[in-house]
């Protein structure tokens, strides 16, 4: 690996120049800074500079009780907050050996999969925006809005959901919600071909994404790539299948895989995942059990001394939460192993030798959420 980039102006002597990509305002989509060493339009070296959204989430969690930390967890990946929330409650439930009622398991799966569709839709729109197409963004937001309305009706919030509780849910869902979800599934499935008509076959899109940013399977292991970025390289690793949690093993779905490893492959995987998520939601709604939505758990969570590891498949890949408990009401150590962090770490390697415009296409195809990278 090459020596760290220095930012002195001396590097301009040989005709190369430094280009500062970002950072942008915190209100925009992601605050990432990349220092690029350029030779004309080509990138010699890329050096992502992180930390603009760093909030020290792990220390915050160590200074709080398990329940107090719950709403913070959802603020890392604000597009996949349900999966984060789920990972935290599952980790604590695993640590304390709490049981979860069947109804809660089903609602959790429905909420997470709706959230996954919303996240992929935002990615779809924003990615096409990165590539210079504006209309898809609006198209995606129309359907995403339907999901946000659905989730708002049960959680009360539109992005940073804090709906799950240790042992179940914060509130039960009613028949109206389930009917609206079923209606959404049918409607979205009929609208999905429009997405493909609009973008997938488009020749400009194809030429911007085919053979660009190829991740080879052995490289993926070196960088710890997970999620759709990995499955675009032919490896069918999905935590929902490999280490089933929260009842995912009772639903039938396939793990979409593409072999090429380029931006187009990652696009195709995410598009296919939309349909798989619909299938899972459909089954979860159809087999929704009656009964309690929350188990009785102690008011004060005081887990036994020990360690626990919980992995969950978020829309962006594998999230691992490692909790070390010292037997008190606060965790001694919490580690969030977030998917975007690992997925972004390969960017420098992928960008080397590429055109600047292609690097932007690669960056978008990795689908990272910067506050999740920075934590």
């Amino acid at each position: 690996m090459s020596a760290p980039l220095t930012y002195s102006l001396e590097s301009t002597d040989n005709g190369n120049f430094l280009l500062n990509l970002g950072p942008q305002h915190p209100g925009t989509h992601g605050v990432l800074r990349v220092v690029l060493q350029m030779d004309g339009e080509y990138i010699l070296r890329a050096d992502p500079v992180l930390g603009y959204g760093h909030r020290m989430q792990e220390k915050i969690a160590e200074n709080m009780t398990y329940l107090q930390a719950l709403p913070y967890v959802c603020r890392m990946d604000y597009l996949g907050a349900m999966s984060y929330s789920l990972a935290w409650v599952l980790a604590v439930e695993r640590l304390c050996s709490f049981e979860v009622p069947e109804r809660a398991v089903h609602v959790r799966v429905i909420a997470c999969e709706l959230n996954r569709i919303a996240s992929h839709l935002l990615w779809w729109g924003a990615y096409l925006l990165d590539l210079g197409a504006f209309t898809p963004f609006l198209q995606a937001f129309a359907d995403r809005e339907r999901i946000l309305d659905l989730l708002e009706s049960i959680t009360g919030s539109r992005l940073t959901y804090c709906y799950f509780r240790f042992g179940g849910l914060g509130a039960d869902v009613d028949e109206t919600f389930l009917a609206r979800v079923a209606e959404f599934v049918t409607g979205f499935r009929s609208r999905l071909p429009r997405y493909h008509d609009l973008v997938t076959g488009n020749v400009i899109f194809q030429r911007r994404s085919r053979d660009v940013g190829v991740i080879l399977p052995f490289e993926a292991a070196g960088y710890g790539i997970t999620g759709p970025c990995l499955r675009g390289s032919g490896l069918a690793y999905d935590v929902r299948k490999k280490e089933p949690y929260s009842g995912y093993d009772r639903f039938e779905f396939t793990v979409p895989v593409a072999q090429e490893g380029d931006c187009l492959a990652r696009y195709n995987v995410r598009m296919a995942e939309l349909e798989e998520s619909l299938t899972i939601i459909e089954q979860a709604v159809a087999t929704m059990p009656e009964g309690p939505y929350r188990a009785r758990v102690p008011r004060v969570i005081r887990p036994p001394e020990g360690e626990v590891i919980m992995a969950v498949e978020t829309p962006r890949g594998e999230l691992v939460i490692h909790i070390v408990s010292d037997g008190s009401t606060r965790p001694w150590r919490v580690k969030f192993r977030v998917p975007s962090f690992a997925n972004l770490s390969i960017f420098a390697r992928l960008a080397r030798g590429q055109l600047l415009a292609d690097a932007l296409a690669i960056l978008g195809s990795l689908d990272m959420v910067i506050p999740e990278v920075d934590r």
């Binding site: 020596a3 992180l50 760093h54 292991a221 070196g222 590891i309 070390v324 192993r337 690992a342 770490s345």
Partner: protein, 144 residues
């Protein structure tokens, strides 16, 4: 399923002791620092991927515990390696030249815990400001 794991551990001269999968782990190892790189090489050869590099501050015992998590894309093979070293000047071996993705994890762990990763190709701060010389995840950190 864990034959790959067994094979990798054998190559590194380590004994395989299965852990209860109830805590999300399939094997956990307590290693001396010089055992880490041979293990990482064997794991890389068997196709394992790096999940994270981090640490736990065991201030009561005066130890800094290096934590390394690996997993395999075939599933069911999560491995945790634990390397306790002195807390006063913790030094751990870097695996950044075996798993390039470990570099970022090591940079983060170095700035947060004040650990030196011996041989890490990049030792700049990652998430903290470039001139930060404090280590916020140490248990005796009281603020800047």
């Amino acid at each position: 399923m864990s034959s790959r794991l067994q094979r990798a551990l054998e190559q590194a001269g380590l004994e395989y002791r299965p852990e209860s999968p109830r805590i999300g782990l399939h094997c956990s190892l307590l290693l001396e620092p010089e055992q880490l790189r041979p293990l990482a090489l064997a794991l890389a050869r068997e196709g394992f991927f790096i999940e994270t590099v981090t640490a736990v501050d065991r201030i009561g015992e005066g130890l800094m515990e290096g934590i390394y998590l690996f997993n395999h894309y075939d599933g069911d093979m999560r491995l945790l390696a634990r390397l306790p070293v002195s807390r006063t000047r913790p030094v751990l071996p870097s695996i950044g030249r075996i798993f390039p993705g470990a570099v970022w994890h090591e940079r983060e762990s170095a700035e947060m815990f004040g650990i030196t990763y011996d041989g890490c190709p990049d030792s700049r701060n990652l998430l903290l400001p470039e001139d930060a010389d404090f280590h916020p995840l140490r248990k005796d950190f009281t603020g800047v």
